[in-house]
Symmetry: C2
Subunit: 928 residues, 2 copies
């Protein structure tokens, strides 16, 4: 029996003893210290994540080097007292006795020396943030004795010099540099490149120099008493909890500062004792693809850090079966045990010491989005998890991955290394894109249409006139605008990657160039942007596009659908949107913005004619031209969504949005006036005058529709009341389309939605107007269409008086973008590039309320509206169709409110399906 085998037996014995040992004495006083066999995985708060899992592995009978844990409570007590309390130290000594008994070794004994590690381990993993000391127990006597064992000479001094070095920097707080310098000098003297080239003699010298350094720097010799070493090491680990690095990390990660860390004191095992030793890090499945096979690397005759550092070429874990067949078999069995026990893929560290396998750590493995989905689905199929649990294992971010192009990770790293990251802006529409930059929508369309050439449209900000260019571009980049600017809204709607509000960009459309960080990019130069992160790179960063056809994902989403009670609908304005929405699993259209149809290039002139009409007849003429276009739009939607509800919101935005830009017009008029004034007889005076008179009329019209606060102006239902002919045309288009589809055997279910309602009386007026028209169309067409008449709830008054509003409205839909604006009194257009950033920066706001719903304010109004609305009309259908409808936290809130559905961009539909399932599984299912 080798020494290692003996140890392993002893471990098993200690475990058995532990199970029998009466805990009577321990219960009388507070327990600060726990043997591995005393804890379990659920005690992470008390024992730290690492320690709790070591306990669990010990309980499972896996070969874990024995040890004990000084608890997080002891940490807090020590931090409060400023030193390790006596009661704690007494328990440490008692545990040490157990450890000595179990290992058959004694701390400080030159013949059978016990060497231990002392590692921090908090409830939440804080990688690299806190301290570790290895090889405690060595001193001059022990090291010398150890070095006299056969084949251990070099090992002994290497271990000792490591202890002194770590102890000096970690426990005594000395500068690392003199130690590194000493090693470097020794390497130079020996003519070798790495420390592993130093022989036993060299290391013995190094060790002596280190001991001298410690004495010089601290005025005291290195503690030769191993107990003293241990006590100081435990104290140092506890203190590191309040080190600057750790505090900063916790602040950034949102981890509370009062948890404290535990300390794991464990028998040292060594993978660097020759060819029958080794060490490795393995995941129980492939965490990139999710495939079911061990994945990882190991090295023979090496220590853990050698596997990670990459200085030696590692071997794939599969090779272990050749190197050490028995160990490999046992390891695979242990992995299986762990995965089965923890019910998830594990990330495992192991060491083989002289032919004996030791399991050093296990934890749930990090994984890629693709792997996360596959693993969850397969674990469920293997009956390790229920389907509901599998659904909960996948996050919305995992699903999002499948929906957008990504930068190739290596290419991005290379670009970062080249210094090509130009700026970071608002990440308003996810996905990566690369292409030649263009500065106007016409060029974008000319070059980009039909995938001819990959272009990025760059603008200071976008306007409705730009939409055709945005559609033709691969991505959108603006220097101004916020999370709900025109650019952001349109980009999200069409799934175009977009980064906006990049104030570092200086966009000069006339000169067709942009300047950033002193670098100038001309039209045609290639940039890359990532709307998921907000990064903008110079040059091409290749992208890869995951397809929405991953069979595991599709299966998982059907499980999510079974779990959720909240409906998931989509916001879709076009046939293309609707088809995508359906493909992604939407159960209806919750918002069709009819005005988006008006922005199309060929329609805008007619829309302008309608707006600027001097007479009713002129207006009717324009409306008559728009009618067949709108009808065709609706036919497309009804066809795509056959059998499903289609919610059509009547025209909403202020009319000036359809007109030319005021400031540009004013500039043109002023310029023309100045030119005519300066030289009225110039060659083209007549042409100038006619142009001036035309543009002046247009300017007057634009100024007539200009508003101080357009967001609060003539829009929504107010527009319908002001221009009844316009909404009547829209309703006619809806019902003519519905009758047409119905005649062809399709099932149609239109829902007519009125925006921006504040008063019941507005609905009284509109409902009469619109239902008269609907009935007229149905009578003409000799058909009966099932439909509903409802309203957006997007100003606080509507929420507060929802009881009254529900007398008229057959459904509600929360327009949370506007509701957030009016509830806060914040214009998103202005705030998101301005003071809202300042608020987030100063932590006056924790979340951007335009991204994640403000539950305390806006949410309270929604709750009121749901309650009052359903009091008037039990079972009232209530949805949400603001941008928030695709945000997982908002979705959970909507579930709690008992909404009927959330409606979001088609690209968010799969995410919303998952988030809705999560809400139902975590908070209980609710009736609608």
């Amino acid at each position: 029996m080798t020494l290692s085998e003996k140890r392993a037996r002893l471990t098993a014995k200690a475990t058995r003893q532990g199970a029998k040992r009466p805990a009577k004495g321990a219960r009388r006083a507070k327990q600060w210290v726990y043997l591995f066999r005393e804890g379990r995985a659920s005690q992470k708060a008390l024992l730290g994540g690492k320690g709790a899992n070591l306990c669990e592995m010990t309980r499972l009978g896996l070969p874990v080097p024995p040890g004990f844990i000084v608890s997080t409570e002891a940490c807090n007590a020590a931090l409060e007292a400023g030193a390790l309390p006596k009661a704690v130290w007494a328990q440490v000594l008692a545990a040490l006795k157990q450890l000595e008994a179990a290992s058959g070794r004694v701390l400080g004994d030159p013949l059978k020396p016990l060497l231990v590690s002392c590692r921090s381990g908090a409830k939440f993993s804080m990688p690299g943030m806190m301290d570790t000391v290895l090889n405690l127990g060595l001193n001059d006597t022990v090291a010398t004795a150890l070095s006299s064992q056969p084949g251990r000479e070099r090992f002994a001094f290497d271990a000792y010099r490591r202890l002194v070095q770590m102890f000096a920097t970690v426990v005594l707080g000395l500068d690392r540099q003199p130690f590194e310098d000493e090693l470097a000098a020794r390497r130079r003297a020996a003519g070798v490149d790495s420390d592993s080239g130093l022989d036993a003699d060299a290391l013995a010298i190094v060790t002596r120099r280190f001991l001298t350094l410690v004495h010089e720097q601290t005025g005291r010799p290195f503690p030769q008493d191993p107990h003293e070493q241990l006590r100081l090491a435990i104290e140092a680990v506890f203190k590191s909890w309040n080190g600057k690095r750790a505090v900063d990390y916790r602040t950034a990660a949102g981890i509370p500062h009062d948890l404290g860390t535990a300390v794991n004191v464990q028998l040292m095992v060594f993978g660097n004792l020759g060819a029958r030793s080794g060490t490795g890090v393995v995941t129980t499945r492939n965490v990139s693809t999710g495939e079911r096979q061990l994945e990882g690397d190991y090295l023979l005759d090496a220590q853990g850090e050698d596997v990670v550092s990459g200085t030696r070429t590692t071997r794939r874990i599969a090779a272990l079966a050749e190197d050490m067949p028995e160990v490999a078999k046992a390891f695979a069995r242990h992995c299986e045990t762990l995965e089965r026990h923890f019910r998830d893929v594990q990330d495992v560290e192991f060491t083989v010491e002289d032919g004996t396998l030791w399991m050093l750590q296990t934890r749930d493995a990090k994984r890629s989005a693709r792997a996360a989905v596959r693993i969850a689905v397969e674990l469920a199929k293997e009956k390790r998890l229920s389907k509901d649990e599998a659904v909960l294992r996948v996050t919305p971010e995992h699903v999002d991955f499948f929906l957008h192009p990504q930068f190739d990770a290596q290419a991005r790293a290379a670009a970062l290394a080249r210094g090509d990251l130009l700026a970071t802006g608002l990440n308003v529409s996810p996905g990566a894109a690369t292409g030649a930059i263009v500065f106007d929508p016409d060029t974008a369309e000319r070059l980009g249409r039909g995938e001819k050439k990959a272009v990025l449209l760059v603008r200071a900000e976008t306007r409705p006139d730009d939409v055709h260019g945005m559609l033709a571009a691969k991505g959108i980049l603006t220097s101004r605008g916020g999370r709900t600017s025109h650019a952001a809204l349109v980009a999200r709607q069409f799934g175009k990657p977009a980064v906006v509000g990049v104030s570092a960009l200086d966009v000069d459309v006339e000169a067709r160039q942009l300047t950033v960080k002193g670098r100038v990019f001309k039209e045609g130069d290639v940039l890359s942007l990532d709307g998921t992160t907000g990064e903008v790179f110079a040059g091409e960063v290749p992208t890869m596009v995951p397809a929405f056809d991953d069979p595991h994902l599709l299966e998982l989403l059907t499980w999510a659908d079974a779990a959720r009670t909240l409906g998931v609908w989509a916001n879709a304005d076009s046939l293309r949107d609707a088809e995508r929405a359906r493909r992604y699993g939407a159960e209806g259209i919750g918002l069709c913005r009819t005005e988006h149809m008006f922005f199309e290039a060929e329609r805008l002139p007619i829309v302008r004619q309608m707006i600027l009409a001097a007479t009713d007849a002129e207006r009717s003429e324009a409306l008559a031209l728009l009618l067949p276009l709108q009808r065709a739009d609706f036919i497309g939607l009804f066809e795509a969504m056959s059998g499903r509800p289609v919610t059509i919101r009547l025209i909403d935005p202020p009319l000036h949005e359809f007109l030319p830009n005021h400031d540009e017009l004013l500039q043109e008029v002023t310029e023309l006036e100045t030119r005519l004034k300066l030289d009225g007889r110039q060659a083209d005076a007549l042409g100038l005058e006619s142009r001036l008179s035309k543009q002046r009329r247009l300017l007057t019209a634009v100024e007539g529709l200009r508003e101080e606060n357009p967001m609060l102006g003539l829009r929504g239902v107010r527009l319908g009341i002001h221009l009844p002919a316009l909404v009547r045309m829209q309703v006619r288009a809806i019902f003519e389309a519905a009758c047409d589809c119905q005649r062809r055997g399709l099932k149609v279910y239109p829902k007519v939605m009125i925006p921006l309602t504040a008063l019941k009386s507005e609905l009284v007026f509109e409902r009469k107007l619109l239902e008269d028209e609907a009935r007229a169309v149905m009578a003409e067409q000799h058909r009966k269409v099932r439909y509903q008449f409802g309203t957006m709830i997007e100003v606080p008054r509507a929420a507060v008086t929802a009881g009254e509003i529900a007398e008229l409205a057959e459904f509600f839909s929360f327009g949370t973008n506007d509701l957030t604006q009016t509830t806060f009194g914040i214009s998103r257009d202005d705030a998101e590039t301005g003071f809202l950033l300042e608020y987030l920066d100063k932590r006056i706001l924790v979340d951007n309320p335009f991204a994640t719903l403000d539950q305390a304010g806006v949410g309270a109004l929604m709750e009121l509206a749901v309650k009052q609305g359903r009091k008037t009309r039990p079972g009232l259908e209530v949805g949400i169709c603001g941008e928030h409808g695709g945000d997982p936290r908002t979705i959970a809130f909507c579930h709690r409110l008992g909404l009927t559905y959330v409606s979001c961009s088609p690209f968010r539909v799969p995410i919303a399906r998952l988030a809705a399932a999560h809400a139902a599984l975590r908070e209980g299912r609710r009736g609608r």
Copy 2:
């Protein structure tokens, strides 16, 4: 005993009998018809206003011609049945019997004919809207018999022709014209100007022609049966309730359509039976001045309509004592009885028939504002009313009269007659003004300052730069802007009459002229305007200014103060405001808008420097200049309000309001650019270029601060967080001023108020910042000032989360202007000249929510805020300082909510004191 005397006795007898008569039979069946002696004044809903008062006079024993009332219930029954129900008619016949018995006359009896009138009388007076038929009971036989009585020949046929004419048009619905034509032909034949010139023979002929006309037009003879006449007349009056005229009137006046009208059937008495007959209309006190003496007119030998029509010169009622001393004495006694009984000044109609006085009608008299106050106070002093009742007799409009100049009523009528009413705009600031028009503030100041010359400032709209001109002008007139535009707000604040948003005006500032209705007015031409009504006149319409020193009013307001529980504070930004507020009875300052101090001409450049500062040092320099100015402002306020709270709101408006107009700058820059481009070598190129570069910089700065929706942008508390140095300067100014005043023995109580709060965390940030500064100042000054830190509640989120907000805020003040904007999602600037007018016009809104608080929406949020705020902080002081604080209906609502105070413009303070008293008296006193 004359016939008349006999009748009077019989009336008295009938009254006595009525009192004894057992009502047993009547109680068994539904009672539709009431004798005058059966009703009382409180039964106006059942008997109509006129009838109920006739009953009351009868009960008082006054000489009322006997009669009965067919009730409003009968009317509704008849309208439902389409004809007079039999049960009703049976009761009419029974009442008629009583009337015949009481009068000693019989309907249709040729010897002792009973003639009756049939008049409508609804619960609410609808003057001239419904029908009357007189002289019912006449027919060929009766008329002929009557004409044979001595001296009654002409009277008989005049009465008969009137009956036929009225009956034909009112009851039978025939066209009036043929009857008028017939009379005209007869007048021509007789060679006289008026019908009174026609003799008995002529009238007999007219009567016959009329009878023929009726037969021709209806195909049936005029009904000779007097019962038939009566039945048809009653039915006709009932039907007239649903006539178009009456329905329109009720819709406009807000009277319900289901009340029905009663019909009064009453013995005819005649004031045109010679020199011992007459008729008059009198009020029991002077309704212009309130003086205690009968006031009115009468005519001898005349009918009621002659007094009103003005065809004959009437006599003052005082003369009656000479004409008929006994009658005059009796009449004065009756008036005294009525005033005492009804406890208010009465408007009385009487007729003297052949020496016998008959009281025909009494009702509460309409009166001028001045009279209303004096009458109420004097009635209380005469112990006719309690002081509380006197307070309730005076309306807010009455009080308002004392606070603003008025057009001289005759001069206004003359101007109307001349066609000088040019237009009507928004009546945003009450009072009348007349003066020479000027088109810019500097001219206004130059000409108008120190009352040198009366000028009206005319602008398209006003801006902060215009304030000095507005202060120098007598009145403000703009073609654009709404009820809460800059012009309106400033005008109300300073009590300047203003009419804004007069879209009919074409204001050409450059040409210094305005065009309206095709008339052109140049600078210096005189106009007149009335901010109470919105009227704009050409030329001078003289005004008269009531002083706020009417002793009756001052006394009444002290009674109001004793009755109310709601505090009345004022919004005041300057010493002058504060002094006026105190004079008008304000108990504190509820809102001092510190930024109004920044708009003053000498400060604006410093404010601009502060805003445009490129460095912190530059900004500090500007703030250092502003500090002593602000401190002086606050010293003035504290002095004026010594001992009373002064609530100071820190800077609120978006910064761009302090900067030059964007569009004008853009025009200038474009013009300069164009000029330089066209001819770079022109003489003043260098000057142009330097100007261009300066203005370009300014334009860039203005554009940097420009916002899409400034109302929802960087303002209020957000500004304080963005520019802490600015609000810190303001707080320093407040506390330095407070310490200074305290040192001089004044009592100061500053309340620092944060605007536009939406988040508790904003207050956490601001409170720390500001209280640190306050404490620093107090430490420097070695003084301790009692103060509070509070917030406006003016966005819905603050109302919804008021419980949290109250953890930081020591008081709340509702900013209902902004709260209304955000609750509705309506920009007042845009809406009040736009769709809000359309809404009011279409009755989608009944009241402008910026004038009268929207209780269902905004009010519900206020209620929530009060409740939650006081849950956190019991007894929390809550006020309102929006424009609504001066609106009586809003004040009543604030009383119901249990607010601590309302704060309004100094000019509304007396009105608010009265309105608060009304609320307490009507709804019960509440603890604050």
